[in-house]
């Protein structure tokens, strides 16, 4: 061991390390790792009575997920989340572009426009959406006024998608904005200078350069959308159930914690697979670049 003083090196350094990180470490272990492990263990168990669960190591709970009822809900959840993410991207990208090129004052207003709903309680926002979309709501009032007539919107899949887009838009816009804002403006000017039009510049320069930002926006939007509970529950109809509602039912009404745990963990595995796929892609790209050198 060298005696050279380093910021976190040596025994003194490691003591500082443990002092600083023990509190968050204890927190994470006590409130994240342990409860999650318990649920994970439950997913291999069986209910014996009202409260008793035996961890038998069975895979039955996971097998049950393959039953058509649940499989369908899983597929639908993924579809809803994907559709939500896609719409969020289509709406959010132009919004993030506008934020990037707005004046300093305009930027603040656009940011507020996206953040104010984000800071409002989800339940309040969802009820507000219900008020807007219900049969006697503003949209239907307006539709009737122009002669189209009332359209049933609330408690449909359409309402669920509208609600999910509304809730998850900030998760998409913010990473997009931060990627766009970091981009060197002269790259756009260079593209224009070299003869490209604005649309061409968008697809040939801007989008390829902010691609990592787009991927992280997709992850940040898709993952919470997949696990949505409140929005489909309040805005959706009987056929718009997403997987979180099913999970909730297992823990409450059905009192089948092992099956609920298995469903939860399948959701978790999906998320992890998605993130690992993303990481592998990143690493492969980095390696390809190194090899090109």
């Amino acid at each position: 061991m060298s005696d050279a003083p380093t910021a976190l090196g040596g025994r003194g350094g490691s003591r500082t390390f443990w002092l600083t990180f023990s509190a968050p470490l204890v927190w994470i272990v006590a409130f994240f790792v342990i409860p999650l492990s318990v649920i994970w263990a439950y997913s291999f168990g069986r209910t014996l009575g009202l409260t008793e669960i035996a961890i038998t190591g069975t895979l039955d709970n996971y097998a049950r997920v393959a039953e058509p009822v649940y499989l369908l809900i899983f597929v639908k959840s993924v579809w809803f989340a994907a559709l939500t993410t896609a719409i969020c991207l289509l709406v959010g990208f132009p919004y993030a572009l506008a934020m990037t090129f707005a004046s300093a004052r305009g930027k603040i207003w656009l940011l507020l426009g996206i953040m104010l709903p984000f800071w409002t309680n989800l339940l309040v926002r969802t009820y507000a959406l219900m008020a807007v979309m219900r049969n006697e709501g503003y949209i239907n009032d307006a539709l009737e006024a122009v002669g189209i007539g009332r359209v049933e919107m609330l408690h449909t899949n359409f309402a669920v998608i509208v609600g999910l887009v509304y809730v998850h838009l900030p998760f998409i816009v913010l990473p997009l904005y931060s990627a766009l804002d970091r981009m060197d403006r002269s790259l756009i000017e260079a593209s224009l200078d070299l003869g490209a039009g604005h649309i061409s510049t968008l697809f040939r320069v801007v989008i390829p350069i902010v691609k990592p930002g787009i991927y992280s926006a997709i992850l940040l939007g898709f993952i919470p959308a997949l696990g949505s509970y409140l929005t489909p529950d309040l805005l959706g109809g009987p056929d718009s159930q997403m997987i979180a509602s099913v999970i909730e039912r297992q823990f409450k009404r059905a009192n089948d914690w092992p099956f609920g745990a298995a469903l939860s963990f399948i959701l978790m595995y999906l998320t992890l697979i998605l993130m690992v796929a993303m990481a592998i892609r990143d690493r492969r790209q980095a390696r390809a670049q190194e090899q090109a050198a």
Partner: protein, 371 residues
Amino acid sequence: MSEPMIRFENVTKRFGSFIAVDNVSLEVEAGEFFTLLGPSGCGKTTLLRMLAGLETPSEGRILIDGVDVTGVAPNKRPINMVFQSYAVFPHLNVADNVAYGLKIDRVPAQERATRVQDALRLVKLEDFAHRMPDQLSGGQRQRVALARALVKRPKVLLLDEPLSALDAKLRDAMRAELAAIQQEVGVTFVMVTHDQDEALAMASRCALMNRGTLQQVATPSDLYEYPANRFVADFIGTINLLEGTLSTDEPDHAAVQAEGLDAPIFVNHGVTGAPDSRVWVGIRPEKLAMVPATQPRPEGPAALPPANVTQGTIIRSAYLGSVTLYDVETQGGATFKVARPNGERMADPALPAGESVYLSWEPTAPVVLLT
């Protein structure tokens, strides 16, 4: 006389109440290496960006090769630009960066490949065609930007502070190389710089700007030897500026009584100022001769013998290798910077501080400035 390549006609650019470019009229001939020089905020970059189409003039017209391009979008102009930050596309390799503009123009693949190859050879990057920009040095990235602009065969190439981000040694090498490339391709270059050495070394002609207005447009040597006003004289190189009164003004000679000098300053040409008006006289440090006061007083011009000689004391000196720079204060309180070339080793020992000296100059040396 053929049409100039670039013509600015009374171009003004305002940003709110700030006037960045104030009524500039300027012509650049085809094949010139033209530089826009000036301190930061003088409007030179705005002028360049208006030429590129990235800014629109508030007033006036811009013509390129006789065609009014004032309202023409940047992607429709026969002009390409090398950006200060190089703006090399980070997601494309060197060859794809260079090919970008040709792809946009739908140049056939065969021709595109040849032209990209030629452009890369021109900037000596043939072996780097498949590198990504983040694997290149600053100098190499700049070459990519240069090749990417030149491959489009523009009528005019704009360069925005192209050398400012390079380290000193590379800058010198690139200076020579840029000039050589310009010679080879024969394209009109317009370069913006705040570095006067760069401007003088590379330019065929140079426009010096200050506060949005053109101060002087001239060849580098004329800018140095015949500055139009005090700003130009002071900005380009080092100069001793003395304020004084125009005491004699004949067609073939003039004299100025300068503050801090006991003898008048005599010049062998007429001046356009009114007699007894306030004028400034500039004398470059290397045009002053200095001898110790122990030697006889140098003789002034035959027409006015006491003129163009003054006595002073050396305050300090700085040895700069090729020259030694002295600060000399006259008895009247004027200070002169004097440059003495170190032409011979050991032959001429440096004069010490405190030494009394005579300064003298030829009647051709001073430049009389009215503003």
